[in-house]
């Protein structure tokens, strides 16, 4: 749309969840090719931290969260521009172990039969991946029986570390995370029906100075180009 | 002219001292623990009396119920009984710290014989050398009054005489009030224009 191409540079400030660091850098680079007048600044952190920054009036245009909860919080506080919220990526929950480990787990039910010891899981109260795992386990009536075995981590990365270093035999992470740890392998994929869909929501903040181009960027996340980049990083 | 009238409670007795020092050398003479250092400290401003006044040339240094003049405004040279040299400065820097008159200092250094240790630090010199450095340092400020707390006690006979003579010479030149503490009666008689005896905080003028 050549009409929109003004001489003035526009600035977009995007706060994105940590797990999106690499993929978003890639996507923004692609976006800039077509929109040379838009200067995009990326800020990363845990979804909770990013939301709190927005609550305190940080100059953010777009919020890309790893879970719905913090997005809901912002929405309830009317910190999001109306009708700009949309989901742009999906992920899957998997069980991992150290590479070449002898454990074999095919389904969630296998967890209760085996002598697997401690299980690393994101803290369900604050880490979305942990929350999905908890839901799935509760759905399968396994949660109560396993509570003594859980070690709660502050993020998925810590789960990976525990498994990589062999301190816990298995852990729950996203499918995209396996690509980052090269010492782990996937044992089983969790059935998506056992938990709420794992989707990443995006929204424009109500305090944005450039709501039009912000919305344009959010739309771009749904585009084919963006989708293929997401897929190349393991999102689906 | 230095006028002192002070009362101060000490641990075992109370100090009461009233005396004037015109441009003369007064010797405070008395047993250990009599209160000599306390008098000098009060005049210099390191401690304050409980009552009374201290005046130098009609400027009030201390007056009960008034804010005492701070030490650094009193212009009083003080040789501390324990020297209080600056441990992190060489002898030269110690002396130059408050120096007013460089040629005076050069002369003093050679008279008291500390030229060879100018670059040493206080912990590298002998007790008598420290005392002489402290003496020169106090004189170098060309003060309006001078307090000397046992200034020659760590010196041998000969050095001591030279220092005494230098003090007398400077006093003739400067004509300022000087109070000196010593335990050596011969020295007191030689240097002092007047000797004030003190015992358990009370003065007994000769």
């Amino acid at each position: 749309e050549p009409i929109e191409k003004s001489e003035e540079k526009e600035e977009l400030f995007i706060s994105a969840a940590t797990s999106l660091t690499d993929v978003m850098t890639d996507i923004v680079d692609t976006y800039k090719e077509d929109n040379p007048n838009t200067q995009v600044t990326l800020n990363f952190g845990g979804s909770g931290k990013l939301a709190q920054q927005i609550q305190q009036g940080a100059p953010v245009d777009i919020f890309l969260s790893a879970d719905q909860k913090w997005m809901d919080t912002l929405e309830n506080q009317e910190l999001l521009a109306a009708d700009t919220r949309s989901n742009f990526a999906k992920n899957k929950l998997v069980i991992i172990s150290q590479k070449d480990s002898l454990i074999s787990i095919k389904t969630l039910e296998d967890l209760q039969h085996k002598e697997i010891g401690q299980i690393a899981i994101g803290n369900p109260d604050s880490v979305p991946a942990g929350n999905y795992a908890k839901e799935a386990l509760q759905h399968s009536n396994l949660w109560e029986g396993l509570t003594d075995q859980f070690v709660y981590a502050k993020d998925v990365r810590q789960v990976l570390t525990y498994v990589e270093s062999g301190n816990t035999a298995i852990g729950f992470v996203y499918a995209t995370d396996i690509l980052m740890g090269n010492k782990v392998e996937q044992l089983a994929e969790i059935d998506e029906k056992l938990h709420k869909p794992i989707v990443y929501p995006a929204a424009v903040t109500s305090s944005s100075d450039n709501p039009v181009s912000a919305e344009k960027f959010v739309d771009f996340l749904q585009s084919k180009t963006a989708k293929s980049i997401f897929e190349s990083y393991g999102f689906n | 002219m230095l006028s002192v009238d002070l009362k101060k409670k000490l641990k075992n007795f109370s100090l009461e001292a009233t005396f004037d020092v015109s441009n003369e050398i007064i010797v405070l003479f008395g047993p250990s623990g009599a209160g000599k250092t306390t008098i000098l400290n009060s005049i210099a401003g390191l401690t304050h009396p409980d009552n009374g006044y201290i005046k130098l040339n009609n400027h009030s240094l201390f007056q009960i119920n008034e804010k005492p003049l701070p030490i650094q405004k009193r212009n009083i040279g003080y040789l501390f009984q324990d020297y209080a040299l600056f441990p992190h400065m060489t002898v030269k820097k110690n002396i130059n710290y408050g120096m007013k008159d460089e040629s005076l200092v050069n002369e003093l250094v050679s008279v008291v014989g500390i030229g060879h240790i100018l670059d040493s630090y206080p912990h590298q010199i002998s007790g008598g050398e420290k005392q002489r450095v402290a003496l020169v340092r106090a004189l170098a400020t060309r003060p309006g009054a001078l307090l000397l707390d046992e200034p020659f006690s760590a010196l041998d006979e000969e050095t001591r005489k030279e220092c005494q003579n230098e003090l007398l010479r400077l006093h003739k030149l400067w004509k300022i009030p000087v109070i000196m503490v010593t335990h050596d009666y011969k020295e007191a008689e030689k240097v002092g224009d007047r000797i004030i005896r003190i015992e358990k905080g009370k003065l007994l003028e000769n």
Binding site: T41, L42, F44 | F86, G98
Partner: protein
Amino acid sequence: MNYTPLFLSLKIAGIATCIVFVLGVIFARLIARNNFPGKRILEAILLLPLVLPPTVVGFGLLYLFGKNGPIGSLLLNWFDYQVIFTWVGAVIAAIVVSFPLMYQSAQASFQNYDRNIENAAFTMGASKFKVFWTISFPLAWPGLLAGLVLTFARALGEFGATLMIAGYIPNQTETIPLAIYFAVESGNTDAAVFWVVSIIAIGFSAILWLNWWSGKNILKFTSDK
């Protein structure tokens, strides 16, 4: 490899250290030498940022300096300046978390020498200012140096509060600890190792240099003993 985090970390830790050193020395000096009611309580308050997890400190700072926060709104109205998401925010975070280290060290070191030496300087007509710089400061130096080293190291390693107030904006607020964190997060082990080694090297050489420089310039007088 992009070396921005290196320079950014040095800049932020350097500026924060200078400010903390000056503030710490002034506070310690004023508080150590004056007795007033509530002195102990004030001292304990000054140490609080040490007890709190950095994230909480960061949260507090975010609140204070945020658009609607008491300080943030002032800055915005008066100077049209926003601290959040800038390297200045990182400096503020580093100052707050490392101040207690400097204060506590300085406060101990101003108690630890013979006050009579200062009095001797006063009798020579030196002003309070001169006495402070020429006597008190060098005599307190070993403790001040300890505080300086701790401060720099802590400022350099600061992560939690920085992330909160300055955010992680590549090339703008990306200090080495943040670079390490995100390298680890994205599974980039090589970069993580590189930055860990860098921060160790910087911390190491800064500490060595400080000790060497101070030994050469200030502590000469104790060298013989």
